[in-house]
């Protein structure tokens, strides 16, 4: 039954992929058919994912494919893959639902929608199979197809130069990452003597420490690239904004999670427990990504750029949780480790949902206004009330406001870090934990700033441009998708109990000596795993606040008497208010930029053309920029070095026959000398 459902789902996607080019010329129709089929397929996959989550032991499905007689391809279903399959399927269902509406404006622009639909389905299929793959070959194939199809999707609007550049950087970075992944897989497989997960999962006991360390490091580099961890992130803030919005929703919300899947597969099933610095490394990488990601997010003008950097930040936060879990596990605090594990898995799921929601919202905004520049938007809440409401829900999740889902994850991770620094008796780890805590707090505040900036400058006050003024609400399917996502955000926020227990039982399977603390009765539905006494019942907290707010609203007139409200324009020192007086998003974050100028390294150029010196200037040009430290400090020099070296080597091909003959002679002489 499970297999049938899964195959049906995957089959639907293949059909969807093929349907688009076959139906061909009738753009809209083929698009609708293709996306509809992929929606059905994703629902089937979601159903099977939920079943897989319930499996106690891995379930292996053999596929009728083989490679060079070494291995038969197989799918490996266990709770870990089931969990990720579920996350991906949720994202896919939402985005597919959403996509009914979004791409019609492309068809108006004369773009080839069947090309898009084909790649879209392939992309989904590849993501599913990445987490289901049961051996190295299938994993790498699907991993690369995933990159390749998303690369081509990023290039959908390829007329823009920056899009091509983004696509190129994306595909190269992810491919280089794949090299590291492959090497780590190969090293592991060599030790295991086989390429199947069954072989690899048996090797962990007799892996020597040095090899395990190398494999771990390679895996972190490889998967870290895909996950967008700083300093391997440079592709992410470029590629995600450049892609069509439903694709960026999938890439940001879901695709980066497959990297975590890969890493977890190593950490949970392949590698031994490992020294504590594994967790420490992840903590540091996570802290760095969270910090820099949120900082750059704050300063973004581009709506999708902001969301992309926020993805970097959230991946960082997830890594913080993972790092904490690993360290705690190393020191055999199994219960605390499981709490930390639940924390990052929970946050991972949350991020998938709210980031998908936010990107979908951004897509609606962009399709309504045709601009991504937040400084040109404003006042959309009145023009697009539903989008505005759902987007607010997403933003609130993003900035981790209780009682929404973002807070549950962040609270648990903070908790995990507290536990880490209190429980473990090592100065270094305590310091590391504290550092992570303060970084997380700073990140929380910065993200709040970014959230206010994003929501404020897009939805509130007066529209700053003609496009924003003329914006209209988008189509129904988009509302349904966003509404559904917002609903999931709320549900995950107020009823975390059952879900976190599920995650706990997932972890129990891989860390057998740990147990999820038992919960009692009804409370377990809405509490998060209880440890050390701190509890948090988001449902009741939410109800409390709502009740107080409603009581206040109803009681105030009752106590103080009815008052009236008069509408008038905003006071702007006596002038009629218009959009030029508003704070733009850029202006809004200026103080942050000044406060953290040592990190941003801002530069500004002001040039003036004067009418009469020195007082009356006619034109003032103002340009400011921040210096991307990692790109300038790491990637540019590396690139330069590589190109310089290449140029040097290229001189070898002089064009002279004599020279070439000399190469042959020299080679021969050297070889003859070595034969001796």
């Amino acid at each position: 039954m499970l297999a049938e459902l899964l195959y049906t789902g995957l089959g639907c996607l293949i059909f969807g992929a093929l349907a688009a080019p076959l139906l061909g010329t009738k753009f809209k129709k083929s698009w609708l058919v293709s996306i509809g089929v992929s929606l059905i397929g994703s629902l089937c996959v979601l159903g099977s994912a939920l079943q897989i989550m319930g499996l106690r032991s891995p379930f292996i499905l053999r596929l009728p494919l083989s490679t060079l007689g070494m291995i038969d391809q197989s799918l490996y279903l266990d709770r870990l893959s089931g969990f990720f399959l579920m996350v991906i399927a949720i994202g896919a269902v939402l985005v597919s639902l959403y996509s009914f509406g979004i791409n019609l404006h492309y068809s108006e622009a004369g773009k080839n929608l069947s090309y898009f639909a084909f790649l879209y389905n392939i992309f989904l299929l590849a993501m599913y199979l990445v987490v289901l793959a049961g051996n190295v070959v299938l994993f790498l194939i699907m991993w690369e197809i995933m990159s390749l199809s998303s690369y081509l999707l990023v290039l959908y609007e390829h007329e823009e130069k920056h899009v091509r550049q983004a696509g190129f950087i994306y595909v190269v970075m992810t491919h280089l990452g794949t090299v590291f992944i492959s090497i780590s897989y190969f090293l592991l497989a060599k030790a295991a003597g086989g390429l199947n997960w069954e072989n690899l999962s048996l090797v962990s006991k007799n892996l020597n420490t040095g090899l395990a360390n190398i494999i771990f490091l390679l895996a972190v580099i490889g998967f870290g690239t895909k996950a967008g961890l700083i300093p391997l992130h440079i592709w992410l803030p470029r590629a995600h904004p450049a892609a069509p919005t439903n694709v960026s929703a999938l890439m940001s919300g879901v695709m980066v999670k497959t990297a975590l899947y890969g890493l977890l597969r190593f950490l949970f099933t392949f590698l031994p427990t490992g020294p504590w610095w594994w967790g420490g490394l992840l903590l540091i990488l996570g802290a760095l990504s969270a910090l820099l990601g949120s900082m750059y997010a704050v300063l973004q003008k581009n709506l999708k750029g902001l969301l992309a950097y926020s993805t970097v930040e959230n991946m960082g936060i997830i890594c913080l949780g993972l790092g904490a879990a690993l360290i705690l596990r190393h020191f055999q605090f199994y219960d605390l480790a499981i709490l930390a594990g639940v924390a990052f898995l929970y946050h991972l799921m949350n991020h998938a949902v709210f980031k998908t929601l936010l990107f979908m919202g951004a897509g609606s905004i962009i399709s309504a206004t045709h601009t991504k520049n937040m400084d040109l938007l404003g006042g959309l809440l009145k023009r697009m009330p539903y989008t505005g409401l759902f987007f607010l829900c997403g933003v609130a999740s993003l900035v981790a406001l209780p009682p929404l889902n973002g807070f549950v994850g962040e609270w648990l991770i903070l908790k995990a870090l507290f536990n880490l620094s209190i429980a473990i008796d090592s100065l270094t780890i305590k310091a590391l934990g504290l550092l992570a805590i303060s970084v997380l707090a700073l990140v929380g505040a910065l993200v709040a700033t970014a959230g206010v900036k994003m929501y404020g400058s897009v939805f509130l006050a007066l529209p700053r441009s003609y496009q924003a003024e003329k914006a209209r609400e988008t189509s129904l399917s988009m509302h349904i998708a966003m509404g559904l996502a917002a609903f999931i955000c709320v549900v995950l926020g107020v009823l975390p109990g059952k879900i976190s227990l599920l995650l706990g039982s997932l972890l129990e399977l891989y860390w057998p000596s740990a147990r999820v603390p038992a919960q009692d009765g009804f409370w377990q539905l809405c509490n998060v795993p209880k440890l050390g006494g701190e509890v948090y019942y988001p449902l009741f907290l939410g109800l409390l606040i709502v009740i107080i707010a409603i009581l206040t609203w109803r009681l105030l007139p009752f106590i103080f008497g009815q008052t009236s409200v008069r509408r008038s324009e905003t006071w702007t020192c006596g002038i009629t208010p218009d959009a030029t007086m508003e704070y733009t998003g850029t202006g809004f974050t200026e103080p942050v930029r000044v406060v953290f100028k040592n990190i941003f390294l801002p530069t500004r150029e002001i040039s003036q053309i004067y009418q009469v010196r020195p007082y009356f200037s006619r034109v003032i040009y103002f340009r400011d920029n921040i210096k991307p430290v990692i790109e300038e400090g790491l990637y540019k020099p590396l690139m330069k070095l590589f190109l310089a070296f290449s140029k040097y080597v290229r001189r070898m091909q002089t064009g002279s026959v004599q020279m070439y003959l000399a190469y042959i002679l020299i080679t021969l002489v050297i070889l003859l000398a070595t034969v001796r």
């Binding site: 404020g456 409390l544 006071w571």
Partner: protein
């Protein structure tokens, strides 16, 4: 019973908050050789706001109307997490400090949104500064909490208080004193006091918090102002019950409650006076020096934790 307790504490805090604000104002005036407004003037102000008709900007959306209620509710909700009459807070489901902080963050988030919603430059300015300052407050605050958690092995307020009240003189360890200083700096910043913000001015160069409220009037302003006094009181209360754990008994009877209440009032008023003194003694600092002030708080907390780890706080 619990619900009654909650309602009682909620109302109590609501009515105490303006008084403490009055105390601060009065003390400050006295220190500056002014007579100052009446101790209950703040009540009158709030009453007046509530009675008045409101003017609402045409440019705003529903966020603007929604915000005062939400801000009020979330801060009052946070207030229910504090142990005031009793070392255990009335809200049975969570008195976690982190949740507490995030409730305050929620209030701030919506306040900033509402400020931007008006489309006025002042609102934007206030919100922008508020968010920038908060981004430096937050780490300092959380690390301070971490310092407390190191001591009490929990981040739960009720448990923290329960563990500190056993030995109130335990406060006289260097690391807790350092934490207290750190927290005091944060308290000043969070409640918008000199030297970080000046609550009495509407000068655009200096204002942070007031800038955000500029477009509010009538009952909406009343709610916002009340909420901000409440928030100030909540912060004082944390100091009162966590850092100054004298005069707390876990006796659940009425007598015990009154005993606690008495000492609570004494401590809170004392802190109010202290804040007034601080405000008088210092001048407001430039916006971009605030991070340095808060950074010092962060360092103090770190130092305290370091001491806790290495020498066990002796």
């Amino acid at each position: 019973m619990n619900i009654l307790y909650m309602i009682l504490q909620g109302l109590f805090l609501l009515f105490l908050a303006p008084l403490i604000a009055g105390v601060v104002k009065k003390t400050k005036a006295l220190l500056q050789n002014r007579r100052g407004p009446h101790l209950f003037q703040v009540y009158r102000d709030i009453y007046k706001y509530m009675k008045k008709d409101a003017v609402m900007s045409e440019q705003t959306s529903w966020i603007f109307v929604f915000t005062p209620y939400l801000v009020f509710a979330s801060i009052l909700g946070a207030g229910l997490m504090l142990p005031v009459f009793h070392p255990v807070s009335p809200w049975p489901f969570s008195s976690d400090l982190i949740v507490f902080i995030y409730l305050l963050t929620m209030a701030r988030f919506f306040m900033a949104l509402a400020a931007l919603d008006t489309g006025s430059a002042f609102g934007g300015m206030g919100a922008s500064r508020e968010m920038a300052v908060s981004s430096v407050i937050e780490p300092a605050l959380v690390v301070t909490i971490a310092g407390l958690a190191f001591k009490a092995h929990t981040t739960d307020l009720s448990k923290m208080v329960s563990s500190f009240m056993v030995n109130p003189n335990g406060i006289f360890t260097p690391n807790l004193l350092l934490l207290l200083v750190a927290f005091y700096i944060i308290l000043i910043a969070e409640s918008g006091r000199i030297p970080v913000d000046n609550p009495d001015t509407h000068l655009e160069l200096t204002m942070i918090h007031e800038g955000m409220l500029l477009e509010y009037s009538g009952k909406y302003l009343g709610l916002m102002v009340w909420a901000s006094y409440l928030k100030q009181l909540l912060l004082y209360s944390i100091v009162a019950s966590v850092f100054l754990p004298w005069g707390i008994t876990s006796d659940p009877s009425l007598i015990g409650g009154i005993y606690n209440l008495f000492f609570y009032l004494v401590k809170v008023v004392f802190i109010g006076v202290l804040v007034a003194v601080t405000e008088t003694a210092f001048v407001k600092i430039r916006l971009f020096q605030i991070p340095e002030l808060l950074f010092s708080s962060l360092v103090l907390s770190f130092l305290s934790i370091l001491m806790e780890i290495t020498v066990g706080g002796r």
